[in-house]
């Protein structure tokens, strides 16, 4: 496996002592949540996309500490299942601050969503529209359009979304069923390198909506620009302001009375969570150092499989570098966190730190080997300051 991730070698004594103290206190493995970083990210994106209502993609990390923090910031929530709505309901977050974005739903899920109070639904075909017909007096529909992206790491336009050319026919079918399509939604894919696809999609949706609105008595006025705002896995100092500048320009061309929505997940939460794992054993095979960690790709590093992410790693000591492999704790040979990396000699009990570990990490972990989940630690504000 070609491993091009960022590896940080060594740490200041205080930094190392802090991680060791956290493991001493809570055990290992850990996921450390720094709410101050989440707030920074939320405020940065709010500033980069003024006038856009942000709906946190709950799927990226459905954790009550994270949801509470975003609730306090006034965020909305993008939900895709009854379980996610249940979590919000437990936290007393009203359904009116949510949109239901899964394009394919069972009838029971629609009913659960309405009882929860989510009235915005995303669909991408006429069969799905028909499922909403019994609830037509209560719901508003966003029609998901597919714009394929060559650049996105994860292409979300293959599985969901209608062709732009189908929009008029589906909209007319909706009207005939007594349903109101209030706007369009798209998702250009995850971890976009630049905003070109966002801009292209916004421009095309703008044109489609304007054409339909000229002929339609129930105009469309909502545009959901999805997510795709990247996490800084390279830790190279990603500039969200610059990334969003072309999106802002594209949005500025839209009528002032349109509602603009976005569904960020990764950008908001990835940098706010740091993982701590411990080396539980080591061996040398074929001249290569193998280190076995207490968390791996079936656990917090599941995003390396499902999300194609490579998280920056840090070891806390320095010394002569040797070709090494960091493996996870399960019995499966696929459970390798990093391969072909040059590391100093490490010892059992040493810590390995993972950065940008907030999005699609714990969310997709498995129960394989019945290993315990990494413990989620909401860092107190002051100690979070120190770690940064």
């Amino acid at each position: 496996m070609a491993d091009s991730r960022r590896i940080l070698i060594g740490a200041a004594p205080e930094e190392r002592a802090r991680f060791e103290a956290l493991v001493e206190q809570h055990g290992s493995p850990l996921l450390l949540f720094d709410s101050a970083i989440l707030r920074q990210q939320y405020q940065a994106l709010t500033k980069a996309l003024p006038g856009t209502d942000l709906y946190y993609a709950v799927k990226s990390h459905p954790n009550e500490h994270i949801i509470r923090e975003l609730d306090a910031l006034g965020a909305g929530f993008d939900v895709a299942s009854a379980g996610e709505m249940d979590m919000l309901m437990d936290l007393q977050i009203s359904g009116w601050r949510t949109i239901h974005t899964h394009p394919i739903k069972k009838d029971q899920e629609i009913r659960d969503a309405l009882r929860f109070g989510a009235t915005t639904f995303v669909v991408d075909n006429i069969d799905e529209l028909k499922k909403l017909t019994p609830y037509r007096s209560r719901v508003g529909i966003l029609l998901r359009v597919s714009f394929r992206s060559d650049q996105a790491v994860v292409d979300l336009s293959r599985k969901f979304g209608c062709d732009p050319d189908e929009v008029p026919a589906i909209t007319h079918a909706a009207n005939a069923l007594g349903l109101h399509v209030k706007g369009l939604s798209f998702h250009v894919g995850s971890q976009c390198g630049n905003a070109d696809k966002h801009v292209e999609a916004i421009d095309r949706c703008h044109t489609i909506m304007q054409q339909l609105n000229r002929r339609c008595s129930a105009p469309m006025g909502s545009l959901d620009i999805g997510g795709g705002f990247p996490a800084d896995y390279a830790m190279a100092g990603f500039d969200i302001e610059a990334f969003c500048a072309p999106i802002r320009q594209a949005l500025a061309k839209l009528p002032d009375d349109w509602h603009i929505l976005a569904e960020p997940g990764r950008f908001l939460i990835a940098p706010a969570v740091t993982s701590v794992t411990t080396i539980t054993g080591k061996s040398i095979r074929h001249g290569i150092r193998w280190y076995y960690l207490d968390d791996g790709v079936y656990g917090s590093f599941s995003g390396q499989i499902f999300d194609h992410a490579q998280y920056p790693l840090q070891v806390l000591t320095d010394g002569p570098r040797r070709l090494s492999i960091l493996a996870g704790p399960t019995c499966d040979s696929i459970d390798v966190v990093a391969e072909g990396v040059e590391l100093p000699e490490l010892e059992t009990g040493d810590l390995v730190i993972g950065y940008q570990m907030g999005a699609y990490t714990a969310a997709t972990r498995t129960r394989f080997n019945l290993l315990p989940d990494a413990q989620f630690i909401h860092l107190p504000e002051t100690s979070a300051e120190e770690i940064r």
């Binding site: 009854a82 249940d86 309901m89 437990d90 007393q92 009203s94 359904g95 009116w96 009913r111 659960d112 309405l114 009882r115 929860f116 109070g117 989510a118 009235t119 915005t120 019994p134 609830y135 037509r136 007096s137 209560r138 719901v139 508003g140 109101h180 209030k182």
Partner: protein, 283 residues
């Protein structure tokens, strides 16, 4: 939470200031809140939708009870399905009936209402004429063999715990619990915003009654104009009962009301044209 924002519709909503939160309860997929609002008194909401408020509950309860009971004229046995807040029971017990059975699915709703909405039941849960049954309303009408002169279905909305009370099977089974010439009344939503509900109820209920129609009353916090109530009976004369007869019964009862009177009773069966049109589409 300082405001309650209703989530009944996607593009419009009513919002209430919460002046004091009395009660909040979440079980499985059910979320119940009771709070105080300066304008409306105590307000109870379920799953983001207003169920009842102290300020305007009298319109709903008087119309669901007094219209069928005064029209019937000699009802002795009454069945209430749902109605856990006790408002329906309170109004029923103002009539000289012999017996009322109330079937509520959840004892905790009754207990909660007694404590947090005490003015709704106003002590009527202690009346000796009451037989309170904690059971599923559907199971009760299907399995019991009681006969009732008036059946009142005081359900929640069709999406949620009360959905079976809008099913054809329920109407069919309830009809079998109705004594000869009896009347069944059900709440049927606000047709201005929910015309489908009116049509669906017509289609599901009409096969079981010689006479099926709707009457209506505006309940301010069920906003959108008139709320509709379905009326089902095999006695086709009951809905058009003579106004003077009603006036006589009303005067004789000595019941004090705030919305209901015989004039309102008669007039409530006249439907606005948009409801007539919606029903014509259902035929």
């Amino acid at each position: 939470m300082k405001y309650f924002k209703e989530t009944l519709y996607d593009s419009i909503c009513q919002e209430f200031r919460i002046d004091k939160l009395y009660f909040e309860h979440k079980t499985d997929f059910q979320h119940l809140i009771v709070f105080h609002n300066a304008q409306l008194g105590r307000v109870m909401t379920l799953d983001g939708v207003v169920q009842t408020t102290e300020a305007d509950e009298f319109i709903y309860h008087e119309m669901m009870v007094h219209v069928p009971l005064f029209a019937h004229g000699s009802a002795k046995r009454v069945l209430i399905i749902g109605g856990g807040d006790g408002g329906m029971l309170r109004e029923v017990l103002k009539h000289p009936i012999e017996h009322v059975t109330q079937v509520e699915i959840d004892q905790t709703v009754v207990d909660m209402a007694k404590e947090y909405l005490p003015n709704h039941s106003a002590g009527s849960y202690d009346d000796p004429r009451l037989n309170l049954v904690i059971a599923d309303g559907m199971d009760y009408v299907r399995e019991s063999n009681g006969q009732f002169d008036v059946i009142i279905s005081d359900s929640t909305d069709p999406i949620g715990p009360g959905e079976i009370l809008f099913s054809e099977n329920f109407y069919a089974a309830a009809k079998r619990r109705l004594s000869e010439g009896g009347v069944m009344a059900t709440q049927n939503g606000v047709p201005f915003f929910q015309p489908d509900e009116l049509r669906t109820t017509w289609q599901r209920m009409a096969p079981y009654f010689e006479d099926l129609c709707f009457y209506c009353a505006p309940v301010p916090t069920y906003y959108g104009g008139f709320m509709a109530f379905a009326w089902g009976s095999d006695n086709t004369c009951l809905r058009g009962i003579n106004l003077q007869v009603l006036q006589g019964r009303f005067a004789e009862s000595g019941i004090a009301t705030r919305y209901y009177n015989p004039g309102i009773h008669s007039a409530s069966f006249a439907l606005p044209q948009y409801m007539v049109d919606a029903l014509n589409e259902a035929n």
